[in-house]
């Protein structure tokens, strides 16, 4: 079956009324949680995991994907009107978009963000459609050694390369790996690190960890440090529509932002932070009026927003073709697949083509729905920003405890939820990234499995990881990304000192 036929079959799945409904629910929910400060896609999908276990996986996954990229659209609204970036990838939008809003140009800022996200999301979905089958061709040749190699690469980039400090990123990763060890060993069935507590035999559920870190931790942090500070919401003044000049200044940044964002999403270097900053500085260099940057230049919103969205879609390439999550949300989506006994990877393209292609097709539909939801209806979403903080966080905690308790009706999970929430609070306060915890706990057990399988094949010969060409190459890349940046930093630092 060619890619085109597969995609058409996917559309037949995505356009059935029930799946269309799940898609609409997903993007609507995604926009809402993207707008609301304190709630993100990783938290929302984690909360919905226990409740969706009995549903048809295709519909539920279409909804989860909708939540994921819908949150990107909604997040830009908050950044522009509130100047509090929901995540690091929207820092630039928060700066430049908020300046536009202050100058009474909130409408065009929202419009260029929404249309840019649509353009980037659609182009990135086309690229995903084209690229996924090619990556699958390569991935079909992967054995356990190769899988282990790419997992180590993902661990390295998620923890050591991204973020401010490699030491804190790695500490977070190893903490996540430790959580992943708890429970029965998948190969021998032995209990590990259960401390004699029967509840721990099944391991710690990813829902409890994700919700604890994101909902409970965030709530405690905001209450302790941010509650006394006032948020200032910029008013929507004037027209939402862009002028002819706005269009002329936006389309270039949209396309360049997409070109930057997608590759960064696909390589396991996760995180949309780097491409948004790159896009911002490129647009500043190319602009005819660079003096406007920092005071509300529309290019500074259009480019980074497109980069952010394209990168989010790009993240799905390694997730769907290799089963490799590179962001917190992708890790939760992987956990969602696992809940139905599905393992994303090249084999899933052969065993469940309708599910995979239905999911990809639904993203074309979802992007159109999001454009409609976010342009004419933006006034409704802005109302969500006016929810008083006490009610917002009390509501978040209601759903957080519901999600954890709903797993198996055990107070033990609630105690665990609170404990992990306190850990999340400390991590947030001392700038320790949380995404490596989730990637480590979900990917860790899979990595161990592949490692032991590889050694079973080689009969204990460790050189298998370095004699197979693909796995050796991936390990070489891993070494490069680990050693490269510090050396580069030192060299460029020397240059600055010399100048």
């Amino acid at each position: 079956m060619g890619t085109f036929e597969a995609l058409m079959a996917g559309f037949a799945v995505a356009l059935t009324p029930i799946n269309l409904m799940w898609g609409l629910v997903g993007v609507t929910l995604g926009t809402a949680i993207g707008v609301m400060p304190g709630v993100g896609p990783a938290l929302t999908i984690a909360l919905l995991l226990p409740a969706t276990a009995s549903l048809d996986p295709t519909g539920a996954l279409i909804m989860f994907a909708g939540i994921y990229y819908g949150a990107m659209f909604g997040g830009s609204t908050t950044s522009i009107l509130l100047n509090t970036p929901g995540e690091s990838a929207t820092i630039v939008t928060a700066l430049e978009g908020n300046m536009m809003a202050k100058r009474g140009r909130a409408g065009p800022a929202l419009a260029t963000a929404a249309i840019g996200s649509f353009v980037a999301g659609t182009i990135a979905t086309i690229l995903l459609t084209v690229m996924a089958p090619l990556v699958v061709q390569v991935a079909l040749k992967f054995g356990p050694a190769e899988y282990f190699a790419v997992m180590v690469l993902a661990f390295t980039t998620v923890s050591a390369v991204l973020g401010a400090s490699a030491a804190r990123g790695l500490a977070s990763l190893f903490f996540g790996l430790t959580i992943g060890l708890i429970g029965l060993d998948s190969q021998t069935g032995q209990a590990r690190f259960t401390l004699g507590i029967p509840e721990l035999l099944d391991g710690i559920d990813v829902v409890v960890v994700a919700v604890g870190l994101f909902a409970v931790g965030e709530t405690l942090y905001v209450a302790t440090y941010l509650n006394r500070l006032e948020d200032k919401i910029e008013k929507m003044k004037g027209s939402i529509w862009m002028t002819k000049a706005d269009w002329r200044r936006s389309w270039g940044p949209w396309l360049r932002g997409t070109a930057l964002g997608f590759p960064f999403g696909t390589v396991p270097a996760g995180g949309a932070e780097i491409p948004t900053f790159l896009s911002y500085s490129i647009e500043k260099k190319l602009s005819k009026n660079p003096e406007e940057f920092g005071k509300g230049a529309i290019e500074g919103v259009a480019g980074p927003e497109a980069a952010n969205n394209a990168s989010a879609t790009g993240t799905l390439v390694p997730l769907l073709t290799l089963g490799l999550p590179t962001t917190a949300t992708a890790a939760i989506i992987l956990a969602a697949f696992q809940q139905w006994g599905l393992q994303p990877g090249p084999l899933l393209f052969e065993t469940q083509p309708l599910l995979i292609w239905g999911l990809i097709a639904s993203m074309y539909v979802g992007n159109v729905l999001l454009l409609i939801l976010n342009l004419p209806l933006v006034g409704i979403w802005i109302k969500l920003l006016e929810i008083p903080r006490p009610l917002l966080y009390a509501g978040i905690l209601i759903f957080a405890t519901l999600g954890a308790y709903g797993l198996r009706n055990s107070w033990f999970d609630l105690a665990l939820l609170y404990g992990i929430g306190v850990i999340g609070f400390v991590m947030r306060r001392y700038d320790i990234p949380v995404a490596p915890v989730l990637v480590g706990m979900i990917l860790g057990p899979l990595a161990e499995q592949q490692f032991r399988r590889a050694l079973a094949i080689s009969q204990g010969d460790l050189t298998i990881f370095f004699t197979q060409p693909i796995s050796a190459a991936v390990f070489a890349v891993t070494a490069l990304v680990l050693i490269g940046p510090p050396i580069w930093k030192r060299l460029s630092g020397r240059k600055v000192a010399a100048a």
């Binding site: 190893f174 903490f175 590990r192 302790t224 006394r228 006490p390 209601i398 308790y405 001392y430």
Partner: protein
């Protein structure tokens, strides 16, 4: 970006580093209690715990060294609110969460969650308890029926048996 006062020691950072060091060492120690069954794979269930425990211990050691030698590297300064923490708020919220955990089994989801809602809103400084109660109850009842009836989750009904 980083604080460079060579002699400044950051007590909280030292504490976190020590906790990581302890967890890492504990993982290594506990691993010795796992029976080694090799089977076909040559590596049993001990190898990964050893690697992970060692990694965590090393991270704790490096962070601890940073903490006593001028503080952790590249910590963003001037974070809003860090100079004036409010410890009453998280205390009230924690009471709310713990009470919810104790109550939910026998008082049921609706009562436990509504109480938690009111307490958390109070923790965030709300003075309008009646409004909080009304909003909380409405939200909790809606969530209860959505999740139990539409999505098939089991939640304790409590004394009213809805």
């Amino acid at each position: 970006m980083s604080t460079t006062g060579a002699r400044s020691i950051h007590p909280a950072e030292v504490a976190i580093s020590l906790v990581l060091l302890c967890i890492g060492s504990f993982v290594i120690y506990e691993t010795q209690g796992i029976a080694e069954t090799q089977g076909y794979s040559q590596v049993g269930p001990r190898l990964f715990p050893y690697i992970i425990g060692t990694g965590l211990t090393l991270c704790g050691a490096v962070l601890g060294w940073h903490a006593i030698a001028g503080g952790w590297r590249d910590v963003p300064l001037d974070q809003p609110g860090h100079d004036a923490p409010d410890w009453i708020a998280p205390a009230i919220i924690s009471i709310g969460i713990v009470l919810h955990m104790v109550l939910i089994g026998w008082a049921g989801f609706i009562i436990a969650s509504t109480l938690m809602f009111v307490l958390i809103a109070r923790g965030f400084g709300s003075k309008r308890a009646v409004r909080d109660f009304a909003v909380g109850l409405a939200l909790v009842v809606a969530a209860y029926f959505l999740f139990t009836r539409a999505l098939g989750l089991r939640l304790p009904p409590g004394p009213f048996g809805v």
